[in-house]
Symmetry: C2
Subunit: 968 residues, 2 copies
């Protein structure tokens, strides 16, 4: 029995005349051969020697690789006829491959690896499958992810693997918003948007198991820049299906019309189907004639130039629909004439983007384009709200549409409320939550993600394409598997670069930075996002950031020079870029807050912010120069302090400086609150320390800060037996030492029924009295998971429900809430499944119970914190059910009245990545149960905050941290 | 004929045995002799030799000075009997003196100067009158104002001058709020609040023609600190009438009770007339016994300790009045017993301060203390609002009160809304306007001004006391004479120190800095007062400040070392202190505004602010060290950035720093407005230059500023023939050169009917279009002084009325408006006279007409800017009459409904030194006349701003600058 083996020896001794590893047929697809050459190069990276390829089977080595495409390979045909392989398992399928070891396919070859594609892309995926098996990363060339060296690779004699058809038909990305970054990069490295560059992009796409691309189109003309048609021809060679963006129909790119139009142009000089019908038709016709030969998904429909509406504001809905119907009819006819008379065989796509959506749905008086014959077999592309939240999704009826559906998703966006184009800020759990819902709702024909400049999006892009390729593995059923995916991704790319211990750190770094970016994207950060003091959210976030930055540096130190570029490009640069930027703004917030109290610490904080600003530039510079400028230009997007939706007039943080007071002065602040005093007898000098009202809190602190640069002493007089202070006196110089944190520890056993204590802090300008309130009991007489209001409010993490009730529908399907781990801005989230279901309370709606004890009877407000889902229906509503104790159930719309994607509420939601909705309850003193029913799809609950009416807890970005519950 | 002569020769040759200048009688008042000794020392300063004094008339020189007091001088008595002098002209009068040269009063003396006082103070004023005639400043010792050297002084043989009785009976000041400044000073220089120090204070008071003092009382006990009674004895010797503050009755100072009280004290341990009646009475009794021997104005009544209410909050008005009546009855009885059985001969004072005011007036149900027998012959002391604005004044009926009235005025205050204790911030025109009204209303028995630490208040204090001493000269009839006073004051103190040219500068410096302090006191300045850009009010104020600072430095350079201390103390330190502080905040405003636009100029401005902060400290240090620490401690009061009513937790300005953008960027701002752009095509990039809508404006400007530290060029394309630009291109480096002002000049002759032009400024990130709107006509077809609305609003200086109408009352008294020059925050003000009159419209009310042309018919708002006068009556109303065109007259209360001194509106008024009141008018397109009638006393109008309803001009502190009027 012969295994299939590749080893260094056989490669070393091979020559062009003998011992070739690859059998290359004359009639094979040239693109498949090109990919085989890439795989050969991969083998060189692994074994040190470039394998040979031959078309003469006598020159093959003892172990050979025979690859080809069904119906394009005499050799495969022959082996199949000899029953050595069974092509029936793949024939007629989409993009599948057979990967099989056979012994002695013919004389001279002892063992062969057969890689047979059901079609061109099947063969290509099969070839790249070999690279993957050899430990070669799909990012081997794109990101210089060098594989581990191997001595030998073997597959058992009976090894056979047949790939599945990809879950989604068209899977790809969109290079967009390509200036200044991608444009500078390709101009610098390749001289333009040409085929030399696209070769790399196509390879990336195919290795990631994608098959579909929207090319760069801001200033580029894909069909001209190759030069000539070289880009399109290369795509076709590789089997890359080309698309064009939603407003670029009939294989014509947007810039083309700008380029060709004019007074003397045969295409006229107006992008107007009414006034320049003939010119536009001619323009489309020639586009289809030119590029119809290639494999495309042809965009149909018509929008205005550069992502604008096509008709003027006075046109009615009916006018628009009629015009669009005419356009579609015309385009279909052109496609029949110039591409394929059988329209059903021509992949076409209409994007229901922006104003096109209403044209599709129509209104009660006007029939939309939905179900019209012009759209038969056309893929209807829906979209997210440009910020990663899906909009309307196909209803059950709509899912019958023959053409199927697509989804246009964003990892990058140039538009309102604030663009994000710099580096990756997408978070896998969100992509999972949203894209699985898309799939569940029947969007399975086209997934396209806008990746901007591509660079730094490789991690979420791989996930997006893997999800699209193998939904069974990563999709709806793989709940809470994004960490597993991330771990695998880390191993795939870094197993030979980092120890397992370091790879765990890298996992932390990737999940950590993307979680923080999920909480707030870099471009939308500013000094007013996180509260500088309340609930210590700034300090705690800074602590997380510093831990992650520490990891990033440790890994930077740990990695070999050979692998540095890959680490920088895939992790260090996007992670540190994100983290440093968040830190920049958090420190600015602290600086501003400190300055407003005259704290000299403000000046030290300002220096720290300046260090972050310098770091930001140094980081981009490093990224631009590493590996001889491989990434030159890709960091050029502005990313600090956006004041408009785009980068224009963006602003670096305004740092505040303080000037020392004239005499020794200290200010005391209660950490986590805005309370402060210098102890003046004439003004507020009693501060409240309320932390110990939470029975699980054992330490709390105040900070003493310098207001002058003169030596200033303080003294602490502790008048409370059950409290201890970390120190009782000290002195600050206001120069080096500008702050001191005093920590108080409670000894609840010594409280003896007391609930209040006090501590006096003597200061140079008076004395501060610290009133300390405390709760002794842990309320263990109450059931576990019962929240206790001890300090004016309760904050509940949605995952910490008291009880969970599943339901079933008439068909017996289980309806239930699941916890989505790591999803949401603090801990996690809960969401009901199946995601497509509109649940009926009392029948099939699952619910969760939250139990809590209030100190007063009366109207309370419950603030629900939710993932900012849009409505999946045209009605723009998103319901859940709420029931307090034995009261009636209220069905509430958690979206504001009249909510619309692109309105102000929506904008706030996508910037903060949260929707909040307040409901009122008439609650009792003592124990209460709040029941939350799932109703509409898209309801994803993260947190509940309960407080007496009009007594909202202090302002914060993340909301109050979870309060005490029994058993916490 | 022999002149009276003093010359160097006679002084030089005089010995103690012969040639004495001063004839000193044994029986003379010792205080008068002490003053004579001071005058002798003055003569030494002038002539270089100390004159001799003798009681032996044979030892007198040929020219002698004979001084004494009527009925206390045998010599004067004899000369009178000899008919050489006529004492009848002074005998029985208050504080007057005869100053007469006579030949050969007796053997051996050829010529004598007789200085005869009607009483002790008359003699003292007469002696100091000689010093003044010799050119010795009243501040000779207090402020080291050294006189010019003289060879000779002579008075003609027939010279005779008899002084007038002072206009106000008791004239003095209050040393208050004496920590940290005055207290540190006297502790450092004299070892406490003792007689050594008070000798200087008494001298200052008497030389300034005052006679009345409230001593320091925060931590001092005047009657104990002398040591012992030395302070009181010295005051009595000098004829200084001692008072005590409004809450310190019966010659007991506030700190005394604190010092003496206690469980075992005979005075008990409660400042409570109900619970500790006997103790309190005993306390008062012993005070009167101890100090009743001296000349006093005895405070009567009772308030709580340390300026608080005496009874608790539950006590009714009637309770309080009854208690106070009992107190007064008791005190009167104690005074009868221990001071003088004839109460009418004992000067007593009740302060109607704070809560005492309602006890005096009572209400409709409760008879107040007004007209009660307990107050017979008691001076009723009214007060300002602590910020220089009088409160209620005696009605005509009340003026009959036998005891007369007093006024407690403030140049310094420790209290809300914000204290002002650092340096002089009082403005003579305001003192004139307020104190003349006090006098007109019959307040003529006691004028007391709180001068805090005294230091730097010498200038307004001299004015206050001169006004009180000679109201005929400086009072109501001396309208607009404060400049004359200031010029005389400058000459009096600096004639021998500066050239006339430099004295003019010093005049500008004194009026300039006090005017700016009048607009805003130092302690109340902050970054939000002046608008950093609107109407260029910050830039223009900075320009004024820089001119004044320049003057201050020029004078500093010009003055001799000998006179430096006087110049620093009287002018340089308070002027530069004020100016530098105003500059500090104005630059901070510019810094903050620049930083918010990302201008790198912000960093340069921050450095300038820091220079001001350093200057502030250096200035105080200089003041503390000059002349061997003569002023040590007097600059210690905090004065920057008050956040409370007192200095606690005051804050230095928060400076904002910018960090350069990543690429060349410039921002254009339209000077005087908040408009700005970097020229982005996606955002606002058309700015409006509206300056030329005012027909008299010929130049306007924009500023181009660096946003990055990279070389950035701009280019200006002028598309308008009637505009010229100061430059058409340029470049900023963002390092040294961060701004460039581009000035546009209009050539109206070339407009040819055009009203709009445009200028394009090309910037690194786009282009800014400057839309230039202009008015060609000067509207000379309209009458002069007609305001023309060309830019949305009209701003009128009150002095620029179109017409003025006087009126007369039944008695034939002329009622008329006068312009108060230099009064008010911008140009001047108008006020109707007599100041005591309540005018009746249609009968005796004078009025002013304002004429203006509007561009639209419709509701307009007229915002009246007024000196923040309080109501002179209990009704808390202040009326004026308003009449538009032929419409009915409206009588409007310009104070907000329910206005009260100490409420929020009042606080805003005293901080900003303005009251604003908006009235609505239904105005016509075209010509309108607005008539303003005087109604209530205290109506002082500074400015009128007219604009269409709800279209208020941009925010500013000083209000929009005056707009165009025909003939401007």
């Amino acid at each position: 029995m012969m295994e299939f083996v590749i080893n260094q020896d056989m490669l070393k001794t091979a020559t062009t005349n003998s011992g070739a590893l690859f059998y290359q047929e004359l009639g094979a697809y040239s693109g498949v051969n090109k990919v085989a050459a890439k795989v050969m190069h991969d083998i060189k990276l692994v074994f040190g020697y470039l394998p040979q390829a031959t078309g003469d089977r006598t020159k093959l080595a003892k172990h050979a690789i025979i690859y080809g495409t069904v119906e394009h390979s005499p050799m495969l045909q022959k082996l199949a006829e000899q029953k050595r392989i069974d092509l029936a398992t793949i024939t007629g399928k989409r993009e599948v491959f057979l990967f099989q070891v056979i012994e002695q396919p013919f004389e001279g070859v002892e063992s062969a690896l057969i890689i047979a594609g059901s079609d061109k892309r099947g063969a290509i995926y099969g070839l790249f499958h070999l690279s993957e098996q050899l430990g070669v990363s799909p990012l081997v060339n794109w990101n210089s992810v060098k594989p581990a060296r191997k001595e030998v690779f073997s597959l058992g004699t009976n090894f056979i693997y047949t790939s599945k058809e990809p879950s989604v038909r068209y899977r790809g990305f969109f290079i967009n918003d390509e200036w200044p970054a991608f444009g500078s990069w390709t101009t610098h490295n390749f001289g333009g948007f040409n085929a030399e560059m696209y070769d790399h992009v196509f390879e990336l796409l195919l290795r990631l198991k994608g098959n579909y691309l929207w090319p760069a189109m801001w200033s580029a003309r894909f069909s001209d820049d190759g030069p000539g048609l070289a880009n399109a021809e290369l795509a076709d060679e590789y089997g890359v299906v080309m698309g064009a963006s939603h407003h670029e129909p009939c294989l014509r790119y947007g810039e083309e019309y700008k380029y060709l139009r004019g007074a003397d142009s045969k295409y006229g000089d107006a992008w107007n189907f009414i006034t320049n019908r003939d010119g536009i038709i001619k323009f489309w016709e020639n586009g289809l004639k030119r590029s119809g030969q290639f494999e495309n998904v042809i965009t149909v429909g018509m929008r205005g130039e550069q992502d604008t509406a096509i008709m003027d504001k006075e046109s009615t809905l009916a006018d628009n629909i009629a015009m669009l119907r005419d356009v579609l009819k015309t385009q279909n006819q052109l496609i029949r004439e110039h591409v394929n008379p059988n329209l059903a065989e021509v992949p076409r796509m209409l994007a229901l983007y922006k104003e096109v959506e209403p044209f599709f749905y129509g209104d009660k008086d006007t029939q939309g384009l939905i179900n019209s014959e012009e759209l038969e077999n056309v893929i209807l592309m829906l979209c997210d709200d440009n910020h990663g939240n899906l909009r309307t999704l196909p209803t059950e009826d709509m899912r019958d549409h023959q053409g199927g559906y697509g989804m246009y998703y964003h990892f990058d966006y140039h538009g309102g409320p604030v663009s994000y184009e710099w580096i990756n800020s997408s978070y896998l759990p969100k992509i999972w939550e949203q894209m699985t819902m898309a799939y569940d709702f029947g969007i399975r024909d086209l997934w396209l993600v806008n990746v901007g400049d591509i660079a730094t999006q490789e991690f979420p892009l791989a996930y997006f394409l893997d999800l699209a390729y193998d939904f069974d593995k990563w999709g709806t059923d793989a709940i809470n598997q994004t960490d597993l995916y991330t771990k695998q991704w880390v191993d795939q790319h870094f197993a030979n670069k980092f120890s397992e211990f370091d790879r765990d750190k890298l996992f932390d770094l990737l999940t950590g930075y993307t979680k923080l970016a999920h909480n707030r994207r870099p471009e939308t950060m500013n000094v007013n996002v996180y509260h500088p003091v309340n609930f210590k959210e700034t300090d705690q976030t800074l602590e997380q950031i510093d831990q992650l930055l520490q990891i990033a540096e440790e890994l930077y130190q740990a990695i070999d020079a050979e692998h540095l570029s890959a680490y920088v490009a895939l992790a260090y640069y996007p992670a540190v870029g994100n983290l440093n930027l968040q830190k920049l703004w958090l420190l600015t917030g602290k600086n501003n807050a400190a300055a407003k109290l005259g704290k000299l610490e403000a000046n030290q904080l300002a220096e720290q912010v300046q260090a972050c600003l310098r770091r930001d530039r140094a980081l981009v510079d490093q990224y631009h120069t590493i590996e001889n400028g491989k990434w030159y230009g890709l960091g050029l997007s502005e990313h600090i302090g956006f004041t408009h939706w785009n980068e224009d007039e963006n602003q670096n943080p305004v740092l505040m400086q303080t000037w020392p007071a004239n005499k020794p002065r200290l200010v005391v602040t209660v950490d986590g609150t805005e309370q402060h005093t210098e102890g003046s007898p004439w003004h507020k000098h009693t501060l409240l320390l309320s932390d110990f009202l939470q029975p699980d809190i054992e330490q709390a602190s105040v900070t003493i800060s310098s207001v002058s640069d003169q030596e200033a002493a303080y003294q602490i007089i502790n008048e409370t037996a059950w409290l201890t202070c970390s120190r009782l006196s000290g002195s600050l110089d206001g120069k080096e030492k500008t702050t001191e944190v005093i920590t108080f520890t409670i000894n609840r056993a010594a409280m003896n029924g007391e609930t209040e204590g006090s501590i006096v802090i003597k200061l140079p300008t008076g004395a501060c009295t610290l009133l300390v309130k405390a709760t002794q009991s842990k309320f263990t007489e109450l059931p576990e998971q019962t929240y206790i209001e001890t300090n004016g409010y309760i904050s509940i993490e949605a995952a910490h429900y008291f009880a969970k009730q599943n339901a079933t529908n008439a068909q017996g399907d289980l309806h239930q809430f699941h916890v989505l781990q790591g999803y949401g801005k603090t801990l996690s989230a809960v969401k009901a499944f199946p995601t497509t279901e509109h649940f009926t309370i009392g029948k099939d709606a699952p619910y969760l119970d939250y139990q809590f004890v209030l100190s007063e009877t009366g109207t309370h407000e419950v603030e629900l914190y939710m993932q900012p889902s849009n409505s999946v229906t045209n009605a723009n509503t998103l319901f859940c059910g709420v029931q307090l104790n034995d009261n009636d159930v209220s069905i509430i719309n958690v979206l504001p009245d009249g909510y619309q994607v692109n309105d102000h509420n929506w904008g706030q939601g996508v910037l903060s990545n949260i929707h909040k909705h307040v409901i009122k309850i008439q609650a009792d003193k003592g124990l209460n149960t709040l029941r939350i029913y799932a109703v509409s799809p898209g309801f994803v609950l993260e947190k509940l905050v309960i407080y007496p009416e009009a007594n909202k807890p202090a302002a914060s970005y993340l909301g109050p941290p979870e309060t005490y519950y029994v058993g916490k």
